[in-house]
Amino acid sequence: MSYQALYRVWRPQRFDEIVGQPVITKTLKNALITKQISHAYLFSGPRGTGKTSTAKILAKAVNCPKQQDGEPCNQCPICLAINQGALNDVIEIDAASNNGVEEIRNIRDKAKYAPTEAAYKVYIIDEVHMLSTGAFNALLKTLEEPPAQVIFILATTEPHKLPATIISRVQRFSFKRISATAIVAQLEKILAAKQITYDDQGLKVIAQSAEGGLRDALSMLDQALAYQQDRVTYENALQVTGSVARVELQNYFVAVFRHEVATGLAMVQTILSQGKDAHQFIEDLIDYAQKMLLYQQDQTMIPANELAMLGERFPTMAQATDATLIYQAIETMGQVQQQLRATYQPDVYLELLTVKLAHPKPNDLVAEVHQLQQQVTTLQQQLKPDLQREKRDEQPATSTTATPAPRTTVSEKPRPLKADLTAIFQVLQTATRKALTNYQQHWEQLLGSLSVTQRAVMHVSKPVAASDQGVVVAFDYDFLYEKAGHDQELQTALQTGLEQVFGTTVPLLFVAQAEWPKIRQEYLDRKQPKQAIPTTEKTVETPLVTKAKDLFGSELIKIENN
């Protein structure tokens, strides 16, 4: 009596029928044609991207006596038996339920025996990341001494949970999310075969909502067809995916970008009362915002029929809105989306999101920079004489145009932070290019060990010189430099991070990027008499410059004439 779900009916039986993984299927077919079969494969990738289907096709293809161009025939007794799950030599194991050592040992013992009916015994271990540590060890032993005529295919959505020792012993294929275009094409194919008509936009909504998983898309198509059998409409697609019409998204953005919190809140309340899914709503909003960015960059990126769907105000809004604002909105929405997963109260989060989008946080980086710039302009006007003097005092100033935050004049700042020149000079004396590269390469990783707010402070920082005595870290923005310098908690966290990432703790010496060339110059001046600095415009490689390049990397060295 049960209805066969589309994703089961349309399960691919040949490599050519696998959607959206052309590189993988081609590689596998070539391996089959040239008879270079590996004894162990790892198929990793998001759900619904074809891992298990590919594994089964591979099991058929290696065993099919009528295999042609790497494809199984799907007609011989072997192929048919595998399709029915009735061939004893092709064994599917669900690691989630059989995750113990015993089960894997059992496999090891049985794998020793030659296949009975087919050429190869094929073990397909699904959800392999669920194996216990003991079971992984047992599996590793088998992979180390693979029995002849046995192939292992491991499949997982979470490859990072596998021990490196296992990964190094298998041939790995990473399945990609399937593009919306490829999903739409497959949906069209199925609907054509079923002689069902559809709205293009309806299929697009489904494909988008499937997030790269064909199985998700087919489940949603199933649902849409359950509502209306003879046609897939845009409305049905919106309904089954819980999506909101694009025009409503447009209206929402218009409201929040105009700071109309009340309108935005009312829209959110209506959308939720219609039983729409909060998670999907944010997903749709993010997608819409990304389209705005895309359109800003290149109008031709969005085809005319899709443009029409985005609402009549889309083009103007996309062009009139500052890209940084859109980026910021996308980030905010992403954060809220994460929080939504764990809550029963999506409405609070959506209301919060609305207020946030309508009133972008002034202490967000972009806004803060804007604010500071404004402050600077005002101060410059008020304190013209002072500032002029200060500028003169600072000669020789660097040629950088970075915001000259007048540290001495902004009253609410805590005591201005002075770079520790003695310590910095010590580092410079022993600095090496190698040490610097090492810190530069793993800087992101170090930042990754910090909390979100700490990362926000540090994300404009970069190591500019390093030795085993310490690392000099420059900050693009003065105010973040100040913040970091005064934040004891952050510095402790950085030390912990250093130990984790580099295995050592060394002092981190902060400097403002704007100050850095000056400090560097001062160091070089002290080391060598002034006349060594070339006085012509031409760049002459003096030993000093060479040493400097060695220390700082050539991209950072600019020779300045005083």
Binding site: M1, Y3, A95, N99, A226, G275, A342, Y344, V355, K356
Partner: protein, 337 residues
């Protein structure tokens, strides 16, 4: 619950979905796995029971509705049918052993007829192991099996589970009837407003109104909020003296956190939408709400609500409830002072 009650309940709560699914069954197009998602009291379990009754009923009505009187219907509603397996969490989660049991049952043939139905409640509480164990069964279920997974938030399930089911979201239906019924009782308007915000589940309402619990906790929260508003440390003490003693069980704690969220949500609504006192659950002292709306900046309000939400999540990690409320109070005080 009796079979007839199930039928009436679904007819009242989810008439559209009932109609839809009865048609699907009539056309023999029922899929093998469904995920019913919706807040508590929205009628997930009853819908699943009704559809199960329809599948087994020996006397299906001309309208396509199960009779609710035959032996099959009665046993299903009573949870006594051998081919209908109902699973719910033991303790706080659905464990892998329970799912293994389901899998074993899956593979056995039906005791009486040709089909089996599994109804798994609170599916979001499945441990990762349990969920992974269920995956395979959902992928290739035997043809005679139908699975209904019930959850109050399907995003908390593994994506791989979700994609193997058809997700059906059950929206809260019109609460008008419930409201009329509550209005006949002794509860003040604002309390009814609060109750309807919290749930549509009659049993839950009964529990919350027992011994005036909801009235007392609402008062306790309002007192707490008044101290907060003044930036007074008394707010901190109120947690221990007024709020914590009221908690009878985990459910009360969850509801209290929810109420705190509503409270600040309403401040937000007063601030931006000028929502009037009669539409609010915490509108009795409207001056208090206005004062909060006016004195808090966007950033402060956002910070407070985010703190409440973030801190309340620790409840899932068994942090003591008093600690949670105190942490919320401390963080909020900082914004008010």
């Amino acid at each position: 619950m009796k079979a007839a009650q199930v039928l009436t309940a679904v007819e009242m709560q989810q008439p559209e979905l009932e109609h839809h699914f009865l048609q699907v069954i009539a056309k023999h197009e029922l899929s093998h796995a469904y995920l019913f998602s919706g807040t508590s009291g929205v009628g997930k379990k009853n819908l699943a029971l009704l559809l199960t009754m329809r599948l087994f009923c020996s006397n299906v009505q001309a309208t396509g509705v199960p009779c609710g009187k035959c032996n099959e219907c009665l046993r299903i509603a009573a949870g006594e049918h051998p081919d209908v397996l109902m699973v719910k969490p033991t303790g706080s989660s659905l464990k892998v052993d329970q799912i293994r049991e389901v899998r074993r049952e899956f593979s056995k043939s039906a005791v009486e007829g040709q089909q089996k139905v599994f109804i798994i409640s609170e599916a979001e509480t499945m441990t990762t192991e349990a969920a992974n164990s269920l995956l395979k069964s959902l992928e290739e279920p035997p043809t005679h099996v139908t699975v209904f997974l019930l959850t109050n938030n399907y995003h908390r399930l593994l994506p791989t589970i979700i994609s193997r089911t058809q997700v059906v979201e059950l929206a809260v239906q019109d609460q008008a009837e419930l409201k009329t019924k509550l209005k006949q009782g002794p509860l003040p308007h604002s309390t009814i407003q609060l109750l309807l915000n919290l749930t549509s589940d009659a049993r839950q309402i009964e529990r919350l109104t027992e011994d005036d619990w909801i009235v007392k906790s609402k008062q306790g929260l309002e007192r707490w909020f008044r101290w907060l508003l003044q930036g007074d440390w008394q707010a901190f003490l109120t947690v221990q003296t007024n709020l914590v003693p009221l908690m009878r069980d985990r459910n009360d704690q969850d509801v209290t956190i929810q109420m705190i969220c509503f409270l600040f949500q309403e401040v937000l609504q007063v601030k931006y939408q000028g929502t009037g006192s009669e539409q609010l659950a915490f509108g009795d002292d409207y001056k208090m709400m206005q004062q909060a709306a006016n004195s808090l900046s966007d950033q402060q309000l956002i910070a407070i609500i985010e703190n409440v939400l973030t801190i309340s999540r620790f409840q899932q990690n068994n942090v003591s409830f008093q600690n949670i409320l105190e942490a919320i109070t401390l963080k909020s005080l900082r914004e008010f002072q």
